[in-house]
Amino acid sequence: MALENITRGFSVKDGLVLDRINLEVESGEFVAIVGASGCGKSTLLNVMCDLDRGYSGTFVKEQSASLMFQDSALLPWLTVLENVELPMSINGESKTSRREVAMDLLKKVNLEHSVHKRPHELSGGMRQRVAIARALAQKNKILLMDEPFGALDAITRDVLHDELSDIWLENKLTIVFVTHNVREAVRLGQRVLLMSSRPGTFIREWRVNLPEPRRIDSPEVALLAREITDELRKEIRRHG
């Protein structure tokens, strides 16, 4: 997946939201993007997911992508199982095969006991796990994540980090993960990109050469996170 000079603005008055974004993501890579509010992260993900085609520049990708939000966005009128089956039913898969795949995916996120529950009966963490299963059910190799764990408590988030790393390695996914949380970015990403605000563009990049399984509270993660945070604050002060 490669973006070259992607520029996007919605009105002349407000200026550009994205300014000459260049990003190359290799197949199977985990890229984390950090930035303050208003840096155009969501706009960028919309472009990457083909939801927004009003940009200029070139964007090539070999596969279509799934997108996850901060809100699990599960459909409240469907059960957990039906929610996971939905992408496959839209793709026209047979009832038996989609049921089987959905059960497998829900097993993978440890929700096989809750398949007949409704979304409102689940905790926030469980809902996000269903959302992961639903995204996997689209069978896209690229997974775009827009602060998916932003609304969760720290304990649940830690567990989900471990789970996401496992799923990423096991399914050889390409993940672009957007977050406010620098430590989370370092915990998960192989590369961390720092984005500036108004207009949004990448200003720095770090490689995270730490082996999996990583822990968010390890000193190595903390050290790098601190460096990135300092840089992020510098960028924020610029706007003051």
């Binding site: 939801l51 992408p87 839209i90 409704r118 009966e121 469980m126 649940t156 567990v159 496992d166």
Partner: protein, 283 residues
């Protein structure tokens, strides 16, 4: 993965609220309150007649009403009238459903059409459909078509407007999910728009039934003819012509009872199930 399994199991168990068993006692007491209220009403009514000494052709006692209705029931007139009106109501309502659903969907999805037809639909909803009875009689004569036309004009605007407002209130996030999952136009309607609009649609369906039933009664009351047979509305007119106040009041009770019956047996469970499934109930 084993580690996650146990960890997740622990977290999930801690975070999920325990289900409380549905309280049969509260259900029972709801029913008891309704009975108590009804009996109290009868007692007040009886006592008021006793004290005021009002003539029974002005206001009969509950007992007189009951025995009048009993006579009608035994003669077979009342069951027949109930059946006729109820089946007419259901048929007219089904027809209204077939007209209003595509109409509401079209207007909910197409802004231009909405601007053109929306105001007309709103006007129709404001107009009591009984106002159509004279016109319908001129167009269709004293035939079932007249009655169906009036029922349709009563129910269609409510159902269509309910669906439209249901579509208007769909959270944009669900439509974004539809785009992310790459649903085509038809899948978008079937998997996202219709189920998401269901609560509003259901409200429209309920109101539509109430309007259909009212319109039916009004039409039956005005369009009296041997060719139309005897419905509950016509029974009301028979009571008036005979000066039989017990029959008139008894028939009013029957009309109300059928309305309550449909609400309690059909709409209320449907509404409760919808709210419960979507986590929209209080407890």
């Amino acid at each position: 993965m084993d580690e996650f399994t146990s960890l997740n199991a622990g977290l999930d168990a801690l975070e999920i609220q325990k289900k409380t068993a549905r309280n049969w006692r509260s259900k029972f007491s709801n029913f008891t309150y309704a009975i108590i209220a009804f009996v109290t009403l009868l007692v007040i009514w009886q006592v008021a007649i006793k004290i005021s000494g009002v003539k029974s052709y002005i206001l009969p006692s509950p007992k007189q009403v009951f025995s009048a209705m009993q006579t009608q029931w035994k003669s077979g007139i009342l069951p027949h009238a109930i059946f006729r009106s109820f089946s007419r109501g259901v048929e007219g309502y089904a027809l209204a459903l077939l007209v209003a659903t595509p109409l509401g969907l079209l207007l909910g999805l197409n802004k231009v059409l909405r601007m053109v037809i929306g105001p007309v639909l709103l006007g129709l909803q404001q107009l009591p459909s009984v106002a159509w009875v004279p016109a319908a009689i001129i167009w269709f004569g004293l035939s079932p078509a007249t009655i169906f036309a009036v029922v349709l004009l009563g129910a269609v605007p409510s159902i269509a407007n309910g669906l439209i407002s249901g579509i208007d209130q769909i959270p944009p996030l669900y439509l974004k999910v539809a785009s992310v999952l790459r649903a085509n136009k038809w899948q978008r309607i079937r998997h996202f728009i219709l189920p998401a609009a269901w609560p509003g649609y259901l409200a429209g369906l309920e109101q539509g039934w109430a309007f259909a039933w009212r319109s039916l009664m009004a039409a039956e009351l005005i369009a009296v003819s041997p060719s139309l047979g005897l419905g509950v509305g016509q029974l009301l007119d028979v009571g008036r012509q005979l000066g039989d106040m017990s029959l008139v009041i008894g028939t009013i009770f029957v009309i109300m009872a059928i309305g309550i019956f449909v609400e309690k047996i059909f709409f209320s469970p449907l509404r409760k199930r919808t709210l419960r499934n979507r986590g929209l109930t209080q407890n």
